[in-house]
């Protein structure tokens, strides 16, 4: 029945790749076509600001599966080509080269692009954003000993770039508009820990600093702040957020609201068009609200779930969001998107850099953040979905295993 069907996936990232693979794993025998505008097989992006930037690995480390895996599964890859338009009612799409492809079901996994800084000098040689393999390789080539690297925005991307710069013996300055690093994702206490981590590795961090413009003669030479301070730099990396790539969906008439609006199955406002990953705004029953997550795990699991829905297996998707970052020797992880809590519990040794913070509201865990404690952090998800209440004193006692607390 399904052999004469064609399912097309726009986007060869984490969400698009897992959608394609899942269709095959679930027994779909029709055509599966992945269209990706980057000329590289389906890949994940976390290593781009970590191993690849450090020079510890080449871009192949980003591949989701060993070369040939998708081809062997009979999945057609159309790489280095972009989609120019979707005709939702006609069930076709047009490629940049003029070709038209018909589809029975469509997955839009277009992700996002780095938010540009609309200032003078942003087009100078040496000013980068970091999203693609090409970006990472370009920046890496400039992270050389003695280079002056300026990072604009103390979010995850910015801080990972600063860490990579220091590891490659370049000088690093971070400027941030807010009054602390990672203010959106971390509590003040955790921000302070991460701030100190960077200072101890020789990064200069300027908080509450407004950016004005870049200057240079073809090549970047300095950055000028709002207060007129000039910072000499050879390389600048702008890490001020992501813009979801919703244009194709919008033009196709789909519902858009901070991303492509999907239901709990990844279905858009058109019954034959699905969407997954960074670009979607989905209802999350565990959080009790709609969210658009820029998350590796969400892209993977929402893609898998939506692929099943494309095949008619409708299971609601909702997970407690999980994020991680690697900076120097610190593995930083977060579980949940806590909005309010009345108690913070620290388990472990903050000064030794091995601990987890739980955020409690009337004894229920709203979220957690951990430094070098992935084990407890991941277990927190089970504690959060258990609906149980926990006592602060027990959580803080490292001699009491979390498993025991959950069972008890």
């Amino acid at each position: 029945m399904t052999t004469d069907q064609t399912f097309v996936i726009i986007g060869a990232g984490q969400a698009g790749g897992w959608t394609a693979k899942t269709l095959r794993d679930e027994g779909f025998e029709g055509r599966v076509i992945i269209i990706g505008d980057e000329n590289f097989a389906p890949h994940e992006r976390p290593p781009l600001s970590k191993e690849v930037l450090l020079g510890d690995a080449e871009k192949d480390v980003c591949l989701l599966w060993p070369p040939g895996t998708l081809e062997d599964a009979g999945i057609e890859l159309r790489l280095g080509v972009s989609v120019s338009a979707i005709d939702a009612d006609g069930h076709t799409l047009s490629l940049g080269n003029g070709e038209t492809i018909g589809w029975n079901k469509l997955m839009i996994a277009t992700g996002g692009r780095a938010r540009p800084l609309p200032v003078d000098g942003a087009d100078l040689d040496g000013v980068y954003t970091l999203r693609s393999i090409e970006d990472a390789e370009g920046i890496r080539a400039r992270l050389v000993s003695g280079a002056n690297v300026l990072v604009i925005g103390a979010g995850w991307i910015g801080l990972e770039v600063a860490a990579a710069a220091r590891k490659r013996d370049a000088n690093a300055t971070v400027i941030e508009l807010a009054d602390r690093v990672c203010a959106r994702a971390l509590t003040p206490e955790m921000s302070a820990w991460v701030h100190e981590l960077h200072v101890s590795h020789g990064v200069e961090i300027r908080l509450s600093a407004a950016f004005d413009h870049f200057e240079g003669d073809g090549k970047l030479q300095r950055a000028v702040l709002g207060d007129g301070t000039a910072i000499p730099c050879d390389v600048a990396v702008v890490g001020i957020g992501l813009i979801p790539n919703t244009e194709l969906a919008e033009q196709a008439g789909l519902s858009i609201d901070n991303g492509i609006v999907v239901d709990e199955h990844g279905q858009t406002s058109h019954p034959d068009i699905f969407s997954a990953g960074d670009v979607t705004n989905h209802p999350n029953a565990l959080l009790g609200r709609r969210v658009r997550l820029e998350s590796w795990e969400n892209a993977q699991n929402q893609g898998i779930n939506a692929a099943k829905a494309m095949l008619g297996t409708m299971q609601p998707y909702a997970e407690i969001p999980w994020f991680w970052s690697d900076q120097y020797d610190a593995n930083i992880q977060m579980m949940g998107l806590p909005e309010n809590w009345d108690e913070t519990v620290i388990r472990g040794d903050r000064d030794a850099g091995e601990f987890i913070e739980f955020y409690l509201k009337e004894g229920e865990i709203q979220g957690a953040a951990a430094i070098n404690n992935a084990r407890d952090l991941r277990f927190t998800r089970r504690m959060m979905t258990s609906g149980k209440k926990f006592e602060a004193a027990s959580l803080a006692d490292p001699d009491i295993k979390l498993q025991k607390l959950l069972k008890g």
């Binding site: 989701l64 795990e297 993977q300 898998i304 992935a374 084990r375 498993q403």
Partner: protein, 107 residues
Amino acid sequence: MSDVTFHPVVKMGQLDEDEAVQVIVEGKEVSIINLGGEYYAMDDICSHAYASMSDGYIEGDCIECPLHGAQFNIKTGKAETPPATVDLATYEIKIEGDDILVGLPNG
């Protein structure tokens, strides 16, 4: 001569139920797992990225990688959930008195 050599790795009682520990046997990282009182052994390094499976939590018959959440079946080594797609090798366990031994293939 057998093609498996057994190596003593932990003592009975050292490993609580539903706990795992990493041991190094002939330079190889192996996870010894106590699943509800039964002992199992499998490769300790996740097949997806470099992480020690014995740092992960046990859920049902699976152990979950602490880094990215891939789950492997403790009895068979099968990669049950993404991002892992490659199974982990499992090894034979033998109990002699107080000693738990793991059998590694020779050569």
